[in-house]
Symmetry: D2
Subunit: 259 residues, 4 copies
Amino acid sequence: MTDSIRVSVVQLDEYGPWTVEPAPRRETDLQALQARLYADFADFVGRSDGYAFFNRFDNMLGIANDVDTDEYERFQERVRNRYPVTVSVGVGERETPVGAVEAASRQLQVAGSAQDPDRLEVLSAGPTTDSAGPITVGHFDIVGVTESFTDTEHAAAAGLEIQQSMVALKRRLLAEYDSIAQFVGGDNMIAVCPQLSEDAFGDIVDHVYDRTGVEYQVGIGSGATAHVAGGRAKRALEHCRETGTRVHEAVTARQQADD
Amino acid sequence: MTDSIRVSVVQLDEYGPWTVEPAPRRETDLQALQARLYADFADFVGRSDGYAFFNRFDNMLGIANDVDTDEYERFQERVRNRYPVTVSVGVGERETPVGAVEAASRQLQVAGSAQDPDRLEVLSAGPTTDSAGPITVGHFDIVGVTESFTDTEHAAAAGLEIQQSMVALKRRLLAEYDSIAQFVGGDNMIAVCPQLSEDAFGDIVDHVYDRTGVEYQVGIGSGATAHVAGGRAKRALEHCRETGTRVHEAVTARQQADD
Amino acid sequence: MTDSIRVSVVQLDEYGPWTVEPAPRRETDLQALQARLYADFADFVGRSDGYAFFNRFDNMLGIANDVDTDEYERFQERVRNRYPVTVSVGVGERETPVGAVEAASRQLQVAGSAQDPDRLEVLSAGPTTDSAGPITVGHFDIVGVTESFTDTEHAAAAGLEIQQSMVALKRRLLAEYDSIAQFVGGDNMIAVCPQLSEDAFGDIVDHVYDRTGVEYQVGIGSGATAHVAGGRAKRALEHCRETGTRVHEAVTARQQADD
Amino acid sequence: MTDSIRVSVVQLDEYGPWTVEPAPRRETDLQALQARLYADFADFVGRSDGYAFFNRFDNMLGIANDVDTDEYERFQERVRNRYPVTVSVGVGERETPVGAVEAASRQLQVAGSAQDPDRLEVLSAGPTTDSAGPITVGHFDIVGVTESFTDTEHAAAAGLEIQQSMVALKRRLLAEYDSIAQFVGGDNMIAVCPQLSEDAFGDIVDHVYDRTGVEYQVGIGSGATAHVAGGRAKRALEHCRETGTRVHEAVTARQQADD
């Protein structure tokens, strides 16, 4: 069996034009709309043990092996009945996260431009299997962030330094490991990866430290769903926090996932 | 009269520990919680024509000249009655946005660590005036983003490239112009600035293009509140989109703001 | 095969005490909390084609044949991670809606009082089958409500008259037909019923008219889930609105439901 | 100074047609939409120490002496930017709550029918003063409800019996005392009243007991805003719960309100 991962891209339809028609809408209303739509999407995929990444807010990512394509119709219906905007959804499944995002994005791109007024509520999927999985999740955070940043630097400077190191981390994961990553608040970054060794994660953490001086630790977990893999990664990260280890993989994760 | 700007830092109390006690909580639930709390904060400051930046989600920023310190008690009450977490709020007012964030952050830092179990629901403000304002807002977006990124690159790559250029933009604004900035979705970045010339904004856009190859345009507006200034900035940005101008300031903005 | 219907009772744990400790909480915050929790519950059962009734808000009902008992754990987890309160859930399945509510309520009552501080996050189900269904839904509304009430009476008087007739309708359904009903906004009442004839619905509508002078029309539908049955009922009600018929059953509903 | 009270009626525009076009929308989505819109309205008036009544959901009431007419524009803007529906608002101020609801309703009725496709986002107010207030609030609940209903009867029967007594209570308040009332969850009813004596409240409680056999207790408070009056009423109700008194008025409420 080959590993595979199923990803969805959720794109707001004609959102740019809507934000300025008939006149520019109030910024806090737009921010609140995007945040609530993301929260709803997180709830939606979370119901099936998936993960959601806000990405650019108007283009969100779902990592959801257990959500069938037609279940997204229910999400599209909910958005249509709850918000003044609609969404299109592309679904892709491939061996790597980046491959899956490419496949899902392609589904939407071939259906038309994101600002094409006729491209509304598209739902389009490439080939999927019944056996997507397992997934590997790396949950990163910054060693000693409260002491080093939150309690000592002002909020904007701390936010920027953290964000810069996150971009370096994300870039490394994407370019070298076909992995996708998302800042998930505070000093936390979650990566969805193909099967990678602890050594690979060690190299990633070292690379970011060399480039930015910010030291990350990472817990690693694998499982049939993002939630299961991510839960193991979080517990592995707790182990790092307690022991000072920089990289820790939940030991039997891969074997368990293969069950 | 000296310009001044009032900023609030909203910090979740003991949030890190809460997310892992008694066991790590489901990631999508945490994501949804943070996003909804941010949406509520955006609504709250938006009611008084302010702006909200999600920053790190567990440390949000409010740009809200017209929100008095004691009004934040109502926000703290609402959070306490609606969420399983509470928030502390620091308020600062200074001549520049960065100065104000420093002052607001300092209010919280002197009250105790963000992870101090006894530091709950702090509300603390430095000196404020009755005459905060005016504010200058720069609303940036990327020239031709739909054609260059959304419709041609996969969602994760497009997201990363945009994010990298945003970090360069944010860094420049913070380091050279005492300004704070926030990615607000899509390809949009909003900066809150001291009074800056069109030339200064031109230099910023050029700098980011030189460093990252991503070309921004920016609309600039000033006004008594973030909403008024930001509304003018958005309309100025519409002018950029229509004419191909890279930098445009709402002409009478500063004069109007002085009224 | 015997028809059966599966119902859940969702009860806020120790909610009364919480609303007044350490001091009475702001009423609008409590109202907003209850309404959002209900909206979330509606979304939750709606995902599986169920219906939600707000009932007393602190005791809500779910009509959800396709939600297994263990899926409610996910709802309990979501509430715990999102709100300052928790919920207990009882599940019952019987031949009639009232029987199912009794069975579900009993599950909670045997676990302890709603205000027992030790009775938190109970999840308890009586016997359930794999073949719950079909369900019959009656969707009632008031003939000519906009002309008779909304546009001619003040909002409080119109609300009271409508509510009085709804109580009469609900009482009749409960006492004579083992059915449960819920006001769902405007002039709409939804009843979940055992299999009843059009004549029975006609008697119900006549009874309410005799008692209160308010004339209802009703669309009737049956199906494997509340959503399917209710969708047919809504379309049947559209038929009433168009033709002036007071009672209309989607013709092949029962047969289709038996498929 | 004559007492006066300011009330708003918030009406969803063309909501009935929207719920069935192009086809009947999913019931749980409608329920969730209405509940969230109500929660947002409660937050909105709550920010200014007002109260919100859901009434019929598509026709809500705001008791908000301190919300000026033009502030409702902000609420209308928020709804337009957040939901797929819009709202019209009528504002009225009179000596009694019923008078104020009549005045507010009239503002909308003269503007056109609730289902007139051209009557969108109306905002219309009758004469208002700068000195609305004070307000008297009666907070009622049922003596021993947990033992008598929640823990002993099934959820649907308990809900119905409570609702029947609430309708009797509401009817009495409306018909005899020019007061408006709303079920606010559990066994709680909140009434907004002109200045009434403790004896009058005693008569009301007796009347409902005679008619329905359900025994209420009531705490009474007055104040400049619904929140202040309601807070006093809640504390007075706590006094009833502790002492067994059926009617209790916060002693200095009226005097304090006159300050």
